[in-house]
């Protein structure tokens, strides 16, 4: 039985086993590779996507849980890097290796969607589940603050 849902506004369906993790459908079936796999157990945040607007870890989510819902990946956040967070990320020169940054941006986007002017403490609380091995946390913080001002 095909599982149908939307990704970045486009209808998709998959015949994959329902317990297949959503990330493999996105990355290997749909070739939307901006979403990254890192821990595979939902503790690092690299795989964060939006499911009906909520930040969700796609590495642990079975694709069946996406049925009938709307998935947004980093590729769908904007079509032209025009999201205020993407602009701020470039302005603050945030990424180093860059591998965690899709997840960071997708996580941050749900904060700004709910709270246009978060405090520093609110940002830290919201972002604390996202690991960055290169140590870009300070720049991520500044970029979110910039986006909240300029967005």
């Amino acid at each position: 039985m095909a599982i149908a849902f939307h990704v970045n506004g486009e209808p998709v369906s998959t015949e994959a086993a329902p317990d297949t993790r959503l990330i493999w459908i996105l990355r290997e079936h749909l070739k939307l590779t901006g979403t990254k796999i890192s821990c595979g157990m939902g503790v690092c945040g690299a795989c964060i996507i939006h499911l009906n607007g909520e930040a969700v870890r796609s590495c642990t989510l079975p694709v069946s849980a996406a049925e009938g819902k709307a998935v947004t990946t980093i590729e769908g956040l904007s079509r032209d890097r025009s999201h205020p967070l993407q602009k701020a990320w470039i302005e603050e020169q945030v990424p180093q290796c860059g591998y965690c940054q899709s997840g960071q941006i997708m996580q941050a986007a749900t904060l700004l969607a709910a709270n246009a002017s978060p405090t520093r403490e609110e940002i830290i609380r919201h972002m604390d589940g996202n690991l960055c091995r290169c140590g870009t946390y300070g720049r991520i913080l500044r970029a979110i603050e910039r986006a909240s001002k300029e967005g």
């Binding site: 079936h29 180093q96 290796c97 591998y99 290169c134 946390y137």
Partner: protein, 727 residues
């Protein structure tokens, strides 16, 4: 306009001074270097230039766009921007027209002149990219500029000495004429021999327009929209997926496994027996995951590591360091340290320990390999710190020449030293070779951690003697552990004037995998050295800053770095209640760094909180200050993370941790405010990627001692250890 998007076969068969003339309309002009032979060549239309076949550094198109090849791995350290900046500086290129691509993997042309018997090696390690390529790229840029000037001088019939350049433009001030590099490319001819340029003809650093002035990093926009390509993102037609179940004990061999059962599972193409594991290949990731989970492997007994218990072994290192018989290999020797210790007015001794540390680069290891059906060639997509080494490793597995290997370098989702080894590529070659189809080999996080190659655990035994006037006269340092040179990096103290020194390594062997980690041995060695010095200073009732000033009184560059950080942190000034500060100094990759940490302690939990960290660095000329700052910040975060949280233990030869839930790392809520300052310098650049990491452990331990009076002597300073100390 884009040209040459797809590099051609990346092995040059052309002699080094081959010369082809540009001719015809709409052609690109290319200045190309193979070991300093310049070549220009034409192609049929500007889209068809296949510069890589010639080993190009630079290609100037008639539209003025300038393609510069980057020879280094891009793992987040920014070399892909910094190296082209160096070349563009001397070339006087208009940076807004510069495009950057990975160079072909030709170590003879693009390598640094170490390894392979001096023939060059494309390996991005040890913070060497900018420092290693700096002069080479400046000379290349200057030679290209000179070729352009000579062409204009001929064209306008003016002495070349009357010509100057502005960004991508040649100017003849006397006649007011100007011509762009793109316009020159339309008619230029190149000499068969490069013009001689020596270092005296290079720009004065005071005239730099690009070096020392930050440009946005080339790779960053693509890292904000998901388009940056890592090897794990590659899809090749007909590609299969592979995973491997590896021996939980290093060097353990699979004796037997349920091959028929796994082979029959849905989507599974085949299984492959490897020396230390069993590979599963199939049509989809999800099917391969299921099949690998279903593998039941009997492992042969007898691997050397199968009785290894890291905690017990580390504790037993004290017997080795304390042994009467000199088992150690001398690393540095000066004066007569034993005699000086005997004669000292006061002697100090302390043992410091460090646990294994894991790289934890965010992108788990992976590679895509397509071995040709006849087995006589292969195509590789990989993120590796060692591109030329990867080609050689793949060629060796297949028993073919490296010329038959096409390697596409991808971005690295972190290197940290792990990705200079080609082990994961060799695995992928074996899998692809078994099916003669493209295979994407995936490692899970658990694979990456449990089959990790760790920064070695070790014991540092230090002793020092101080004379009646408070001068340190004797210094002995013995490091005990497995890993040879991994243990001795950073163990010397070249900036401290101590007349009698004996520094040695005592090696043991546990049969486990060990590897370079960011800053290698500097992390634990500088921690031990700086914490020990702090302890002596405290006992001598001397301020630790002044104590170090005295020791490095004859090292002005080091002194400047130390003084700079003291000024930044207002050393000796007021510190917020409940906090204290600690200082440390260290040198790495030719750069000098000093750090001050300001910490507090949550006594109930035993958690150390680092609130602020100041870091002063002398790295010579800083090519890209903003990115260099990011590297120093990253090194501090990595260093603090390892010093506060990170610990791998092995029992019965098996790694006890498996993922980020039981291998905690620094998160945003743990971040200190970081202040970085570079000491102004016109010295040759030195490495910055690792420069700050060595000072983190010592600065935190010394701040903790200032706060509590207790000495942390075991990395990491995890809450359980802190509680045991302060309890």
């Amino acid at each position: 306009m884009k040209t040459n998007e797809q590099p051609a076969r990346d092995e040059s068969t052309y002699s080094r001074r081959t010369f082809l003339k540009t001719a015809g309309a709409g052609l690109s002009f290319a200045v190309v270097f193979g070991s300093w032979g310049v070549k220009t060549f034409s192609a049929q239309g500007s889209h068809a230039v296949r510069a890589s076949a010639f080993g190009a550094w630079v290609k100037i198109s008639t539209d003025g766009s300038i393609l510069i090849y980057n020879p280094a791995a891009e793992m987040g350290q920014g070399s892909m921007t910094a190296l082209p900046v160096i070349l563009a500086e001397e070339m006087d290129a208009d940076w807004s027209t510069v495009r950057i691509e990975h160079s072909p993997i030709e170590p003879d042309t693009y390598g640094l002149s170490w390894g392979r018997g001096g023939r060059g090696n494309m390996m991005t390690v040890g913070s060497r990219a900018v420092s290693g390529y700096f002069t080479k790229l400046r000379l290349a840029g200057a030679q290209i500029r000179r070729v352009l000037l000579d062409n204009v001088a001929r064209r306008w019939n003016v002495p070349v000495a009357e010509l100057t350049t502005e960004p991508s433009t040649v100017v003849h001030a006397a006649s007011g004429r100007r011509i762009t590099y793109g316009e020159i490319a339309a008619f230029a001819e190149a000499p068969s021999e490069l013009p001689d340029i020596d270092e005296s003809q290079l720009k004065s650093p005071r005239d730099f327009r690009l070096i020392g002035h930050s440009v946005p990093r080339h790779d960053i926009p693509s890292k904000t929209d998901g388009s940056a390509r890592y090897a794990l993102d590659v899809h090749v037609p007909g590609m299969l997926y592979g995973m491997i179940s590896r021996s939980p004990v290093h060097d353990g061999r699979p004796a037997s496994y349920n091959e028929a059962e796994v082979h029959a599972m849905p989507g599974i193409t085949t299984t492959v027996t490897l020396d230390y594991g069993v590979g599963v290949i199939g049509a989809s990731v999800e099917e391969v995951i299921k099949a690998r989970t279903a593998l039941k492997i009997d492992w042969a007994k007898g691997a050397p590591a199968e009785t290894f218990d890291s905690e017990a072994s580390l504790a037993a290192y004290t017997d080795i360091a304390g042994g009467d018989r000199a088992q150690g290999r001398s690393i540095a020797q000066q004066g007569d340290a034993p005699a000086a210790l005997r004669q000292a007015a006061k002697r100090y001794e302390a043992d410091f320990f460090a646990d294994h540390v894991y790289h934890a680069q965010m992108e788990p290891l992976n590679a895509v390999v397509s071995v040709h059906e006849a087995g006589d060639g292969a195509e590789i997509w990989i993120g590796t710190q060692s591109t030329s080494g990867a080609k050689e490793a793949a060629a060796q597995v297949l028993g073919i020449d490296t010329a038959r290997i096409m390697l596409h370098p991808c971005y690295l989702g972190g290197g940290m030293g792990r990705r200079s080894n080609s082990d994961y590529l060799v695995e992928a070659v074996h899998l692809s070779n078994a099916v003669k189809r493209p295979v994407k080999l995936l490692w899970t996080r658990e694979d990456d951690m449990q089959y990790g190659q760790f920064r070695p655990m070790c014991l540092q035994r230090l002793a020092a003697g101080v004379d009646a006037r408070g001068n340190v006269t004797a210094w002995t340092h013995c490091v005990v552990g497995d890993g040879g040179g991994l243990l001795t990096s950073g163990i010397e103290i070249p900036f401290y004037d101590i007349p009698h020194q004996h520094i040695e390594l005592c090696t043991v062997s546990h049969g486990v995998r060990l590897k370079h980690w960011r800053a290698v041995g500097h992390g634990f060695n500088k921690f031990a050295i700086e914490a020990f010095l702090d302890e002596i200073a405290a006992d001598q009732s001397v301020d630790p800053y002044q104590f170090r000033r005295q020791l490095m009184r004859d090292a002005p560059r080091a002194l400047k770095v130390l003084d700079t950080v003291a000024e930044m942190a207002d050393w000796g000034g007021a510190v917020p209640a409940g906090r204290a500060r600690g200082l440390a100094f260290g040198e790495r990759s030719g750069s000098l760094a000093a750090g001050v940490a300001e910490v507090s302690l949550d006594e109930a939990s035993g958690k150390i909180r680092v609130h602020r960290f100041w870091c002063a660095v002398d790295g010579g000329i800083v090519v890209q200050p903003e990115n260099a700052r990011a590297q120093i910040e990253g090194g501090i975060v990595n260093g603090l993370s390892s010093a506060l949280f990170e610990r791998i233990t092995l029992k019965d030869g098996k790694v006890q941790q498996s993922n980020f839930h039981d291998y905690p790392m620094l998160r945003m809520s743990d971040m200190p405010e970081i202040e970085v300052q570079f000491v102004e310098s016109y010295e040759h650049p030195s490495g910055l990627g690792e420069a700050s990491l060595p000072v983190t452990g010592g600065a935190v331990a010394n701040a903790f001692a200032a706060l509590t009076g207790k000495r942390l002597r075991h990395l990491p300073f995890s809450p359980d250890r802190v509680r045991a100390l302060t309890g």
